[in-house]
């Protein structure tokens, strides 16, 4: 029963996000509709019509939004990801091993590298638009939160693309309401929760068990003979200077990230790959994100606790705010390596699903791509009758869609804040007490 409900949530999410007109039954189906959706953390934000929101609980109105958002679409972080396929192709070219298609791909890689040079990791124009539009919708959907001199406490990690994402959102907000009282901050001082690095958990990410399981899972997914035939006049000779597996992986990855930049319209790299190839890539990426940032049992199921400081901060700030006669929003801008474990820690939409079997993920709907596309975001929207109201309720939006939490409620999709506090503070406390 739980599985069915869980699947339904996933299907609704996919449907709501308008990634397809029809409900996707599987990741493969989703990819069949658009190969770009296999891009995992390189997926662009599903910026389109949203499912309508549930009306506010009777007598209550929204007064506060607490948010964490990933930076918007960006360029590849470093040239290494392009150099690997480019250098393979160049070497093969120097030996006369490239087919006309191979030559074309080599030229295309050159164009891509030229376009990215000096822009490694930069927010793209699309990335800025995503944040403007998200901010715009946030304001349209919850005008009470942003009315008059509402406070906007905007914070970003110290990475430039996050600062620019924050700036884009803030520009949109003040354009719509010039009276907003905004502070923007990007400081090392806040990094302990905005982008917490947990050395102990990091050291436990990769274990002999995860390596063994991941290698076994990927084994049938990594080769691509068809691609080799397509690019090289003599694939066997090419294999002496080219790693088939890595060429397959990095070339598709290079193609998929282009949807985030102006090159998206020009690049045809993704067309070299079949739906099956893209699905294999998606499976590998999804599994990788699961055991590194999700609640995988292979390495102890504790990785999501990297975000305990962020969650505690979200709780503390909300608690303080509720005691004041204020309305407004706390906006935080950071990274996918934060939002994914945060969503898992919260168990939003069943993302706390735990397994040792990486092959279970697709069927159980543990699809990281639904959580962390570029500009992905989680919004806690708080409601009350008035300042004296002791029963504060809230709902959670994942990428602007109403989401579920693993705590009981009589007012779904709303939850009672006191239930949330109790459940999650205990969860964090228990983890911290057991940490060794």
């Amino acid at each position: 029963m739980r599985n069915h409900r869980f699947l339904l949530v996933i299907l609704l999410t996919v449907c709501g996000a308008c990634w397809s007109v029809n409900v996707a039954q599987s990741a493969f189906e989703m990819i069949q509709r658009d190969r770009n959706l296999s891009a995992s953390n390189y997926c662009i934000y599903p910026d389109s019509a949203l499912a309508p929101l549930t009306p506010a609980p009777e007598g209550k109105h929204p007064f506060y939004i607490s948010h964490y958002g990933r930076h918007g679409s960006r360029y590849l972080s470093s040239r290494k990801g392009y150099d690997i396929p480019y250098n393979y192709l160049k070497r093969a070219d120097s030996l006369g091993l490239l087919t006309p298609t191979g030559q074309f791909v080599l030229t295309e890689m050159r164009h891509i590298i030229e376009d990215s040079e000096g822009r490694w990791g930069d927010l793209s124009g699309l990335g800025k638009r995503q944040h403007r539009q998200i901010a715009c919708r946030m304001m349209e959907r919850f005008p009470e939160v942003f009315k008059g001199h509402a406070f906007i406490d905007a914070k970003s990690t110290v990475v430039n693309r996050c600062v620019l994402s924050m700036g884009s959102a803030v520009q949109q907000l003040v354009a719509l309401n010039p009276d907003l009282d905004v502070t923007m901050k990007a400081s090392q001082q806040d990094m302990w929760y905005m982008n917490h690095q947990d050395t102990m958990l990091r050291n436990r990410m990769t274990t002999p068990e995860t390596t063994k399981a991941y290698d076994a899972f990927c084994e049938p997914l990594i080769s691509n003979h068809r691609l080799m035939e397509l690019l090289f006049v003599n694939p066997d000779s090419a294999r002496k200077v080219v790693s088939e597996n890595w060429l397959n992986y990095y070339l598709l990855k290079a193609g998929l990230i282009q949807q985030n930049t102006r090159m998206g319209e020009r690049s045809q790299l993704v067309d070299l790959f079949s739906y099956e190839d893209c699905h294999c890539f998606w499976l590998r990426e999804n599994a990788w994100w699961y055991f590194n940032y999700g609640p995988s049992l292979l390495n102890g199921g504790e990785q999501p606790f990297t975000q305990r400081y962020l969650l505690r901060k979200i709780i503390n700030e909300a608690d303080s705010l509720m005691r004041k006669d204020l309305h407004g929003a706390s906006l935080r801008f950071g990274h996918e390596t934060v939002i994914l474990p945060l969503i898992c820690l919260l168990g939003i939409n069943g993302f706390d699903f735990q397994t040792e079997n990486l092959a279970d993920l697709e069927n159980h709907g543990w699809w990281a791509c639904l959580v962390f596309p570029m500009a992905s975001n989680v919004q806690f929207v708080f409601y009350r009758e008035n300042l004296a109201d002791k029963d504060i309720v809230f709902k959670v939006l994942l990428n602007e869609q109403e989401a579920t939490l693993p705590i009981p409620t009589d007012i779904a999709p709303y939850y009672h804040w006191r239930d949330f506090r109790e459940y999650y503070l205990k969860k964090i406390d228990d983890y911290e007490a057991s940490r060794h």
């Binding site: 490694w120 930069d122 927010l123 620019l164 700036g167 949109q172 354009a175 905004v182």
Partner: protein, 429 residues
């Protein structure tokens, strides 16, 4: 009549200000002694010259430095603290010394974890500058206008830009804003010239600078006010270093929230403050201005920026829509650029460091935190071939070494000819 009288009084007052020596100016406003740490004072010129007859502003080209920020490193706060704390543990501090130790702890508390970052005042400065720009030149900020803002890769520059853009968006919600911070722009926003860098403090220049700074190194009064034992000072305190560290903190305090509670200026006499300023000012002159000691070329480190300003203006003039280009970088860039442009008397070329005050070369006039240059362009219509412009340094109209019948306006063609020639002569001697 009253208006005329008022303007006469203002004019006399303005002349009076001009006539002040720098020593007097610093005495009247200690904050000026902070050089690059001076918090942005805002424009002193309240009324700008009216537009040239028949013309109106259509383009603004800007370069601005980040707003008020904290010192770059923990060491800036910790080193003097440690010196005093150690002495305190040995009972070697005076009552004042103990109090300075207390103040240092307060100051460090605010800066901790935010080294090199923008302070709330810095954010406010950027918003206010943007606000005045829009208010002073509303013709440039129409619904059709495009604004292209770029910042260097530094976090404080990026945040400065974002604060300015927030203000702009607040006032002109329909202006099309493009904002970016990318390594692609560092060639002009943060140009590094290794050759010039090496020349800055060659052995001869260093010797001359040290000799000049020598007369500012008597810190015994300050030390004796902090420590209660001269033998301890002699054996355990590097008084030259401690003086510099304390002055650096004193200078930057004006940018911090904690300045509402504490000051450091009471530790120093007017003469000591002036001496510290003189030493710092000469350092900036040697390193970033046309100082003859090290070849007189340092301002050319900003040649890419100046060329970019010229090229961008040339391109933008071809458009029939108003446009704004904003660039955010470092104080070192704006100081060199102001010298390269020979604005007011910043083109001064001398090897006599002692003459700087007399000749009115004071870096703080160029580069307080949030310092900015605005080139404001005027024309009758897009077909007008005689484009005029004026330059505002920190929002005050300034003079360039060009002839003009219509001051503070200059002909763009004269500017192009003069500065492109200057750059070409430097690049291909």
């Amino acid at each position: 009549m009253i208006k005329i009288l008022l303007s006469m009084v203002l004019a006399v007052f303005a002349v009076g200000l001009e006539a002040q020596t720098i020593r007097e100016e610093i005495r009247n406003n200690i904050r000026c002694s902070a050089s690059n740490y001076m918090a942005y004072p805002g424009p002193t010129q309240l009324k700008l010259a009216s537009a040239p007859v028949g013309k109106q502003p259509f383009y603004i080209s800007h370069f601005g430095c980040y707003g008020s920020c904290y010192h770059n490193g923990r060491q800036d706060y910790e080193k003097p603290y440690r010196t005093l704390a150690k002495a305190d543990s040995l009972g070697m501090l005076t009552t004042l010394g103990k109090d300075v130790l207390r103040r240092l702890a307060l100051i460090h508390q605010e800066a901790d974890g935010k080294y090199g970052e923008l302070t709330p005042l810095g954010a406010q400065q950027q918003q206010q500058i943007m606000k005045r720009m829009v208010e002073r030149f509303p013709e440039v900020f129409t619904d059709n206008s495009a604004v292209d803002a770029r910042s260097s890769m530094q976090l404080r520059c990026n945040l400065s830009m974002e604060n300015a853009m927030m203000q702009l968006s607040r006032m002109c919600p329909h202006v099309k804003i493009h904002h970016n911070s990318t390594r692609r722009d560092t060639y002009f926003l943060d140009q590094q010239d290794r050759r010039l860098q090496k020349m800055k403090m060659d052995s001869v220049t260093t010797a001359r600078y040290n000799a000049f700074a020598q007369h500012c190194e008597n810190n015994s009064r300050l030390m004796q006010s902090l420590f209660n034992d001269t033998a301890y000072i002699r054996r355990h305190v590097n008084s030259k270093e401690l003086n510099s560290q304390l002055f650096k903190i004193a200078s930057n305090l004006q940018s911090m929230e904690v300045s509402r509670q504490v000051t450091f200026y009471d530790l120093l006499t007017n003469d000591e403050i002036y001496c510290n300023w003189e030493k710092e000012n000469a350092w900036w002159y040697v390193n970033y201005a046309f100082c003859k000691l090290n070849g007189g070329e340092q301002p050319f480190s900003q040649r890419n920026l100046l060329r970019k300003i010229i090229e961008d203006a040339d391109s933008l003039m071809l458009l029939d829509k108003p446009d704004v280009q904003l660039r955010f970088g470092d104080e070192t860039a704006i100081l060199s650029l102001v010298c390269l442009l020979e604005i007011n008397n910043f083109g001064l070329a001398t090897d006599d460091l002692e003459s700087l005050d007399r000749k009115g070369w004071a870096a703080y006039k160029a580069f307080p935190m949030s310092a900015n240059l605005q080139f404001v362009f005027y024309r009758e219509n897009p077909d007008d071939k005689d484009v005029l412009f004026k330059v505002l340094l920190n929002e005050n109209e300034v003079r360039l070494p060009l002839k003009s019948n219509d001051l503070p306006y200059y002909h763009w063609t004269d500017f192009r000819n003069y500065y492109l020639k200057k750059l070409e002569e430097y690049e291909e001697p």
